[in-house]
Symmetry: C2
């Protein structure tokens, strides 16, 4: 692509192109960034410059452009993990939607470590992001403060905060519906009407609390009380969930509300490790295409990632008053 007779070992700049084209760097710049009609540069010159840029394999130096311009057009996202369908889908939608809006997306994954979250947020600010989407952060408010000090908009996604607008799933309604389904399927399949187990998440985190509230409400409807011992919340770790499951005494005719696909990995492994696996049913808040087909599964509550993200982008485009939390309905996917 690059001319062989090119001597310089460095990448061409607009000055190099200007020299070749016999024009000024200003002209080259405006042709290359699309403002040339406004500057009333002749179509002929514009075309010649474009051709030369192509020939020289020119690529604009984005850091230089960002430094000069008032807006960076970079949008950041921090996300706990990539390795499950929910966060994977969030990352993909974020990238696509950012590009559709002419923004450059930068994502960084923070492993659910509060320190990494903060460090990543700082790094994003250094990168001059115009806006930061904070996904599933342990302490979104600290990050929101950091951002507001730097006059960068922050949006919380998945886990809400109190110092920036938030977009989350409607966890209460989703959990209510999922719990109803599990209860009714257990009754239908086994004739039992026992309170379900609730497995996964952290008692302190908002999503878990909301889901537990929906879970409890569905039990109340059914005239059941949930014993405290039925709830196992050891965070977002399949291993810890698995280790603690022995305490639960899940027997034939049981039903289980699994609070994430991460916890589900623990549940499935536990089931498999039992010498005599109990006849039971589970439902899961979160969707996975393979887990959907597991024999004991009665259905999965799929979060509406597309709507969550388009809502987040709306909040970015037209910032609301205060720090509202918008709830997005989930979609129940019955066992296929």
């Amino acid at each position: 692509m690059a001319d062989d007779d090119e001597i310089t070992a460095k990448r061409p700049t607009i000055y190099d192109l200007a020299q070749i084209a016999g024009t000024s760097a200003s002209a080259v710049s405006s042709v290359l960034n699309g403002t040339w009609k406004k500057r009333r540069i002749s179509a002929r010159l514009a075309e010649r410059i474009s051709r030369i840029a192509e020939e020289q394999g020119y690529a604009v130096n984005l850091p230089a452009r960002m430094l000069r311009r008032d807006r960076s057009r970079v949008i950041g996202m921090i996300i706990p993990k990539y390795d499950n369908r929910y966060f994977g889908a969030i990352a993909e939608h974020f990238e696509t939607m950012a590009r559709e809006r002419g923004l450059f997306p930068v994502i960084t994954c923070t492993q659910r470590e509060p320190d990494l979250e903060l460090e990543a947020a700082r790094e994003m600010l250094s990168y001059q992001v115009e806006c930061l989407i904070v996904t599933g952060a342990t302490d979104p408010d600290r990050i929101a403060d950091l951002c507001s000090a730097a006059r960068v908009r922050a949006i919380n996604l998945d886990l809400p905060g109190s110092r920036a607008p938030s977009v989350v799933s409607d966890n209460f309604s989703g959990a209510l519906e999922l719990t109803r389904v599990i209860l009714s399927r257990v009754r239908a399949d086994f004739g039992t009407a026992l309170p379900l187990y609730f497995i996964g998440g952290r008692a302190q985190d908002n999503n878990t609390r909301e889901r537990l509230r929906g879970f409890t409400a569905a039990h109340v409807e059914a005239g059941l009380a949930v014993p405290e011992d039925n709830c196992l919340m050891r965070g977002y770790s399949a291993a810890k969930t698995l280790a603690a499951m022995a305490d639960l005494k899940i027997a034939d005719g049981s039903g289980v509300f699994v609070n994430s696909t991460i916890a589900l990995e623990g549940v499935v492994r536990w089931l498999h490790d039992q010498p005599n696996p109990p006849q039971m049913r589970f439902g899961c808040f979160d969707w996975d295409p393979f887990a959907a087909f597991l024999p004991q599964n009665v259905g999965m509550m799929q979060q509406d990632v597309a709507t969550m993200l388009s809502t987040a982008f709306q909040l970015i485009e037209t910032p609301p008053e205060g720090a509202p939390t918008l709830q997005i309905p989930c979609r129940f996917r019955p066992r296929p």
Copy 2:
């Protein structure tokens, strides 16, 4: 964090800090970027500057730093998708390893679209990446050319190319082993000794060819010939795989070699949609924690992402002669 009596609406620069500290921007710069001992700045001044930077909520402007420095310390990765365990793990390992090496990782996901791949590569070059890891690209050689014209090192990951070093799984050996296992399990469970089906991937792509070679070799060992009709390669789309599966006439006693978890989604759905699902077994080249527990699964060939990436980083650190392809062994994970 920021002082309330601060008037300026813009973010502080080293000049602002210098003024507050009563020193020069040079001093501030070298304190903030760690070169102050070399410049023999007093510990006292260094401390004061650090404190003021903290108080003012200072964050270095990375684009400006990148523009000035000779090395950007940014490393790029393009990747087809985030939403499966393999690519998710690649993205996570890449980020972690880049950070361990003091590099800033930027990932972008290209949806298996050749045009997006090229566009993303150009964007990475504009971002002044020092190196680009090209993962699963349809046409890695075009990207390698683009990079070499810009004097940026490229490394191919997952799919090999001929114009840059490549790191791939040992697809032949992995497929050989996986095929042996499926054949022997089908024999043990059903007493049949029929050639297996091969489902997923693209006939033109290197990984599929290599795996097909291992698949065929295992059949030869077993004294079996593989009918051409047994192979279904409709690319990386669960829907297309599913749509074409009717042609296969998979019956009781069959065995299936599934070439990716993406194809596996199609296979599992097909199985489920059958009025009388055949008694069959499958194995899959690629690992997924839930698919691992599906009843017909005999085992999954897990690619060694950690070793693949540390090998890629080694190639970056000590560039080899030419464009070698390094093969990383896979690990077979039998059905739990």
